[in-house]
Subunit: 342 residues, 2 copies
């Protein structure tokens, strides 16, 4: 299973789990009690020294116990960790469903962030399903003031967004109705992401009698799809301050700033869409502000073409087992919710 022999494995696990529990360096004495291996503290010290040479543990100072390094956590997560089981209570709290249909996909994401934060006691980040993965159903052009048109796009997840298009000249309501029907018919059932410039060009050509509206809509769609994705919901940032490693505001502040600048996460949530759940530990994070944090993330909404992502942000000293289980569970929940509305 691991690149270590069984005993080192056990010791690494014990050090990490003890440290996760207590936030303190853990010493050989304490360990020999904890894991009933029938070996003396001295032996454990030898093993720990070896683990330190291998780069999995470190030493705050000579007379202190051991602390896991980022590499130690990495090995632990990859090879040692057994994913935790969620308690029925945890499941129940995460199951509270938000109907995508009645509340909309954005509210769904917002609510998921709240749930994730409150269940795990860490900070959470959730991106709403990206519009590109939604199914186009209708577009409705609604006259709005004299020279403006409100374009409402309806998808399988309800209304995605309305947009006022200014056309600079008055319009005929009948024409708009006709246009609405025509465009709706042409695009019905497509993924918004599959609505390419060529397709739009075809539609534009067909609607020759309403060039302005249709071109404004096309322009909007082209810009709209990539932009909306940037929106991300963050919750539970105050939980960061509960962690002893962030007891000093000066250390916590950059983390909170990074969380507020949610843009950082759009990268993150996009980059590894392949795997279903992934963990980024400490200095593995691109953002320097998060070098003391770990991120447990997952995508939801289809394995090959994920619709969105969710993540937990906590200290590297994180309860990975629970975190991973929770993230996976909620991701399944969101995927199911989206599929229900498909």
């Amino acid at each position: 299973m691991s690149i270590l022999d069984a005993r080192k494995d056990a010791i690494l696990r014990a050090v990490i789990e003890d440290h996760i529990e207590t936030a303190e360096p853990v010493g050989s004495e304490a360990l020999s009690h904890r894991l009933r291996l029938g070996v003396s503290p001295a032996t454990i010290r030898n093993e720990m020294a070896a683990l330190e040479d291998l780069g999995f543990l470190s030493h705050p100072h000579t007379s202190a116990g051991r602390v896991p390094t980022d590499h130690g956590y990495r090995l632990y997560v990859d090879a040692v960790l057994r994913e935790a089981r969620l308690t029925p209570q945890e499941r129940a709290r995460a199951r509270r469903p938000v109907s995508v249909l009645t509340e909309g996909p954005v509210r769904m994401a917002e609510e998921a962030a709240r749930t994730l934060a409150s269940v795990t006691d860490y900070a959470s980040v959730v991106s709403p399903p990206r519009p590109g993965r939604l199914l186009f159903k209708h577009v409705h052009f609604i006259p709005f003031r004299s020279t403006q048109v409100l374009a409402v796009i309806v998808t399988n997840a309800g209304v995605t967004e309305g947009k006022v298009l200014d056309l600079g000249e008055p319009l005929d309501a009948e024409d708009l109705d006709r246009l609405s029907r025509m465009v709706s018919r042409r695009l019905d059932g497509r993924l918004l992401g599959d609505i390419t410039d060529e397709l739009l060009a075809e539609v534009v050509a067909e609607a020759a009698w309403q060039q302005r509206v249709i071109q404004a809509l096309a322009a909007w769609l082209r810009r709209y799809l990539p932009v909306v994705q940037r929106r991300v919901f963050v919750d539970g940032t105050a939980n960061i301050l509960k962690q002893p490693e962030f007891a000093d505001a000066r250390t916590a502040q950059p983390v909170l700033v990074a969380l507020e600048e949610a843009e950082i996460f759009t990268d993150l949530l996009r980059q590894e869409s392949a795997r279903q759940v992934w963990v980024t530990i400490g200095t593995e994070n691109r953002a320097i502000a998060l070098h003391g944090c770990s991120i447990v993330a997952a995508t939801y909404g289809g394995r090959d073409h994920p619709a969105g992502a969710l993540a937990i942000v906590g200290p590297t000293r994180m309860k990975y087992g629970k975190a991973i289980a929770m993230v996976r569970y909620l991701a399944h929940g969101l995927t199911a919710a989206l599929e229900d509305s498909a």
Copy 2:
């Protein structure tokens, strides 16, 4: 102007402004340098003792300088303070407009929160214009799956929200169109808040041939209007940690929690709609978590019937002059933006 004589006034102001600057208790020596009144430190000590008796200053311990009390800040804000002028830079940063029409009222609020936080370096809270203050323009019922209808309400600020109504039986598209037109005609130009149960009942009666849709819509509106108002955008919470009084995470944590539980503010932002800008200092705040904070708030969108509110949350040791000016300025901006779209 004040209940104090001119010198006490000057001393109170000097103590407060010095303390706001430095976050340290201020002593008589330092003051006599600061304000060139030609009086000795001893005199200032006497005056400060008097101000302490009056409850405007306090004493961390015998050998420390004076610190303003909440009452001191209150007097300062009410009677002593001169509102600060915004620099051209500050104005420029707060003027960056978000078009209500193209981005929608919710984005407008979100963006305002971001601006307010970044300009003031405090935390900010902004509630979007409450739907009740928006003008109804149209409703469109759009067929959605077999037994469902998507109701889209269009207001002067664009699409407010779409809602899927499940009716349990199939519907006719023609009927829905007819219904859309009828309801739109009946409600056109009303404030959403003026759409009373009686009015809805009339409309329901008139649309006898489509009882289910219309009643579902009426039920939704009744619940929708009060609920959506709860939504509030918070930003700049990380700024709290910059303040020395919140250098310890244990003191900062409750504040951040209170900010995340934005519900607390819905009360606040509603309660004093009469005045245009108001300040709540320290223990004046209902939430105990905010007893170390002050809130500078304002409403926007019409004096008598405000549409929404915005606020700054910072330590009691806040730059009130700037804060008040900034909040007022941004409130004007939002009011103007809403009026443009009316």
